[in-house]
Amino acid sequence: MLRYTLRRLVQLVPVLIGVSIMTFAILHAIPGDPIAVMAPADASEEDIAGLRAEFGLDQPLPIQYLKYVGNAVQGNLGRSLRTRDPVAETLWRRLQFTIQLTIASVVLGVILGVVLGVVAATHHNTWIDNTIMVTSLTLLSVPGFWLSLMLLLLFAGTLRWLPSGGTGGPQHLVLPVIVISHGAAAVIARFTRSSMLEVIRQDYIRTARANGIPERLVVYRHALRNALNPVITIVGLQFGFLLGGSAIVETIFALPGIGRLMVNAIYTRDYPVIQGGILFIALTFVLVNLLTDLVYAIVNPRIRYS
């Protein structure tokens, strides 16, 4: 396991270098003079010269890149052009909120997805299976931003059960978590179902049944355990999609997460925040995928030796 972990860590190095190059490139990909784009409309000549020096854009590219990476490693991602706050600190605070929101959504998505997937598989080709499959396909197809608005209309508008946005108590997170998890629940349900159907056909399940083990035990102890293995990788991937989806949901529900921070930064052309935000999210996603792979290798020893 140690060797596998080390190998996976080494494989991360080129990915991290690539991610740093891409986020670094953001500033340089802006058409025209990035400083002119970033500077506020009423900026004086000195302000502009100050900005140019702050970003070190007068130096050769490789030097700029090395400085960027050197600063980033030390947790310095520059200052926001609007608030002048250190970007890394703000992002870290906002990221914690988003990660909490995402974890809550992943948990809900996994529970719903696995339960629906197992029920569909154990009722294969019945109306129950069909209903679950149609529902999950519809959930996959509903745009998150529209689902948010419809839930708001119903629960905050007509019924007045839940607040329409902002933070406060757990009731503020009910709708956002439902919206963020809806797609994941659907994907996990579909995946669990097909994985279960595959496992149920195997010989050892037939043997278990032939030995008179109750169907309940066959399904939950013998089949589900193996069927869930591939589902783990899907959960890891979904985490990234949920992080991405949070940008829209946080914006609609006015939540203090990293996604809304980035969307607002885009509106105000606050490039250090955009640059740092995408870096933070990519690093989180890479880390989650690493953890997923390690968990997968623990439950599935064959992976370690391949």
Partner: protein, 303 residues
């Protein structure tokens, strides 16, 4: 967002002999019969055909000019004059929806075309040559995969600015990793087959082998991926427009219509309900069709 996940699942699935078999079946047209026998897929096909018809015939079918409205008629509910009501500027919702379908279809086709061209070339070269070419190109794909798709698209638009062309570029690039991996996986399987070896032995050039003998083997899985992608591209593009980072006003687009209607959500719920319903129905259509195509072209790829 989420059909992207399915694409990624698909990329791990295909096995070479099956795709070869599938390609031969596709030639015989047997797949079409199987597709139409599948009720869900047939329903998907009907939705997609209607969507394409409305999008192409928007000028003829549309009852009003989608750009011109009467402020005196703003935010009206459905009526005989305006079947689906009017928006905040008094423009007819049916006309906006029909022309919105056209914007969406244009974006979808251009994005898929761009992503397919780039992804297929990438995967083909990577899988065919193998070795360091493969290593390098797959590491680049790994880097792209480190960014959640929609955020990658949002960031690209943030840098380049909103607008038609930039959305296509942004979503196209975000779609590249899935397609490149899919094609590479298929090509890796095909590369070792005897007919490819035979082509090499008689001295065919690499380019000729890639395009004449390897490429056809990727058509079946790519058809499935393209249909599912049409769904996810529509979702991503409308999400970008909803955030104000996609199609710009006054061009009618479903996500942008939702964004406009949001301010009047509680007083005029029809204006927020209808465009979202349209997106959902069309995305369901493409997803049903994609699933059906997968079952029809290659039952082994079923997820």
């Amino acid at each position: 967002m989420t059909s992207e996940a399915i694409d990624r699942v698909v990329t791990t699935a295909p096995a070479a002999p099956d795709t070869e078999l599938a390609a031969r079946r596709a030639l015989r047209g047997e797949w079409l019969r199987r597709l139409l026998r599948n009720r869900a897929a047939a329903a998907g096909l009907v939705i997609v055909v209607l969507f394409v018809l409305v999008a192409t015939l928007a000028d003829v079918l549309s009852p009003y000019d989608p750009y011109v409205g009467k402020l005196s008629e703003r935010l009206q509910g459905p009526s005989p004059a305006h079947w689906l009501g009017t928006d905040a500027l008094g423009r007819d919702m049916v006309a906006r929806l029909m022309h919105g379908a056209r914007s969406s279809l244009q974006i979808q086709l251009a994005t898929i075309g761009f992503a397919l061209f780039l992804g297929t070339t990438w995967g083909l070269v990577s899988g065919y040559f193998g070795g360091w070419v493969d290593d390098l190109s797959m590491r680049i794909i790994d880097v792209l995969l480190a960014f959640p798709g929609i955020l990658l698209a949002i960031t690209i638009v943030a840098v380049l600015g909103a607008g038609f062309g930039n959305i296509i570029l942004a979503i196209g690039i975000a779609s590249l990793p899935g397609l490149a991996r899919l094609v590479r996986g298929v090509v890796l399987g095909l590369r070792e087959l005897e007919y490819i070896e035979a082509a090499r032995a008689i001295g065919e050039s690499h380019v000729s082998i890639m395009f004449r003998y390897v490429l056809p083997g990727t058509i079946a899985p790519l058809t499935v991926a393209a249909s599912l992608r049409m769904a996810s591209v529509l979702l991503s593009a409308s999400a970008l427009s909803f955030l104000g980072l996609g199609v710009l006003p006054p061009t009618p687009e479903w996500g942008a219509m939702l964004s406009d209607a949001r301010d009047y959500m509680f007083s005029s719920p029809h204006a927020t309900t209808i465009p979202g319903l349209a997106i959902t129905i069309v995305v369901v259509g493409f997803n049903l069709l994609g699933d059906g195509l997968r079952d029809a072209l290659d039952p082994k790829m079923r997820v």
